[in-house]
């Protein structure tokens, strides 16, 4: 095969190879983060309901529940009627407290005691903090009990990780 016929054969192949490589190289260059890097506690609210058998059973509560972090100026929920909420824990401290007020009744304070583990996702996405809940302390003005269903908080979407049971009204 002489040089001229080699060029005829190889030139379109070279052009195709370069184009394909450029395409993939451009697609793989640095970009914005597309992952949700936040973590929060999926919290559900329950209230006791008297059944036909005169026994109380816990049922999902939907009510106006105001939630605000202790030390923060903004409400997680203020006027909406909700049955669940996502509570973000502090990344740099091991205690996070929230004030929870159901239906304008007397408020309670709930404190999460947790460990924090840092996980590097990528240069673009940064560090995600995974929490392990060790204990929950709470006042009992309107809250009857709190149950930890899932202690490891690793994402922003898992529900029913902590269950808060309110007292009978």
């Amino acid at each position: 095969m002489n040089i001229i016929s080699q060029k005829k054969l190889y030139s379109p192949l070279i052009a195709a190879a370069i184009c394909i490589t450029f395409l993939f190289a451009a697609c793989q260059a640095e970009g914005d983060c597309t992952q949700d890097t936040r973590t929060s506690v999926g919290t559900a609210f329950f209230q006791p309901v008297l059944g036909a058998n005169q026994q109380y059973t816990a049922q999902t509560l939907t009510d106006t529940i105001r939630i605000k972090g202790v030390g923060s100026d903004s409400f997680i929920n203020d006027t909406l009627s909700i049955s669940a909420a996502r509570l973000p824990l502090k990344s740099f401290e091991k205690n996070t407290s929230f004030v929870i007020q159901k239906d304008n009744l007397k408020a309670d304070t709930i404190t999460f005691i947790h460990d924090n583990t840092e996980q590097l996702l990528s240069l673009e996405c940064g560090v995600k903090v995974i929490h392990d809940i060790k204990d929950i302390r709470f006042t009992q003005n309107r809250i009857d009990s709190v149950k930890i269903a899932i202690s490891r908080i690793a994402d922003n979407k898992t529900a029913n990780q902590v269950k808060i049971y309110f007292k009978v009204e």
Binding site: Y10, Q28, K90
Partner: protein
């Protein structure tokens, strides 16, 4: 990973087809079709090439990347080409979010190319091969010094801000490459070639901290690369004599 599996399946299929073609021979010796022979002296030539495209390849991915590499291979039976590739790369970049990344390292790749042309005629006599298409595999190694700075924590509600730095020296990184290309003899040993390669199976101790690795590229996922080389092939006296004989016949 899916691309790696697809390319591997194609490569294995081609190898299987060729192996089947070799195996399907008439049992009668006279009619046997010999397409590749491995007789005589194995060593035929040594080639040294510089990749003149890899500096541009780095810049295409990110203008802060500098990289270059060389190749050296030996010719065995005009069929197998053990090859060593070596080079250096570095990056120093600040992202729009304020994060910084610096890395530099030498890298080396060890592997083999396989000439897709038959090195013998149907009658079993050696063919004169100077230009050929090839498929190859590589194992790449890098020993990387890197530093990741101002990596952010995410804490929207509590509005705390904190950043973290990661750094390490002499971190081992390895990967696998599948290569396909062409090597062309231009004039009296002056050779050029090009290849495309799929880089995959990247592994390292702190993989997420290696954002970009010399010799591999961006480490999130498989990478494609294109190489264009210029160099020289030094053939043995016997091989050079073959060329002269061929020219005389013309």
């Amino acid at each position: 990973m899916k691309r790696f599996i697809k390319v591997s399946v194609v490569f294995l299929y081609l190898a299987l087809v060729q192996a089947t073609a070799w195996a399907q021979g008439d049992s009668t010796a006279v009619e046997k079709d010999i397409r590749n022979i491995y007789k005589g002296k194995a060593y035929r030539a040594v080639s040294v090439h510089a990749d003149i495209f890899s500096p541009f390849m780095g810049r295409i991915a990110n203008k802060n990347i500098n990289t270059f590499e060389f190749q050296a291979d030996i010719n065995l039976y005009d069929k197998l080409f053990p090859i060593v590739e070596a080079g250096m790369g570095n990056i120093s970049v600040n992202l729009a979010g304020g994060q910084g990344y610096r890395a530099s390292a030498p890298f080396v790749r060890l592997g083999m190319n396989y000439n897709l042309l038959n090195n013998a005629t149907k009658e079993g006599t050696p063919r004169l091969i100077r230009s050929y298409p090839f498929l190859g595999v590589r194992y790449g190694i890098g020993v990387v010094d890197y530093a990741m700075t101002n990596v952010k924590y995410n804490s929207d509600y509590w509005q705390g801000s904190k950043t973290h730095d990661f750094a390490a020296k002499s971190t081992y990184a390895g990967w696998i490459e599948i290569v396909g290309g062409i090597r062309v003899d231009i004039y009296r040993g002056l050779t050029m070639g090009w290849s495309v390669r799929l880089k995959t199976a990247f592994h390292a101790k702190n993989k997420t901290q290696l954002w970009w690795t010399p010799g591999y590229g961006f480490t999130q996922g498989a990478q494609f690369a294109f190489n264009y080389t210029l160099g020289y092939t030094l053939r043995t006296k016997a091989e050079r004599a073959k060329t002269a004989t061929q020219t005389d016949r013309k």
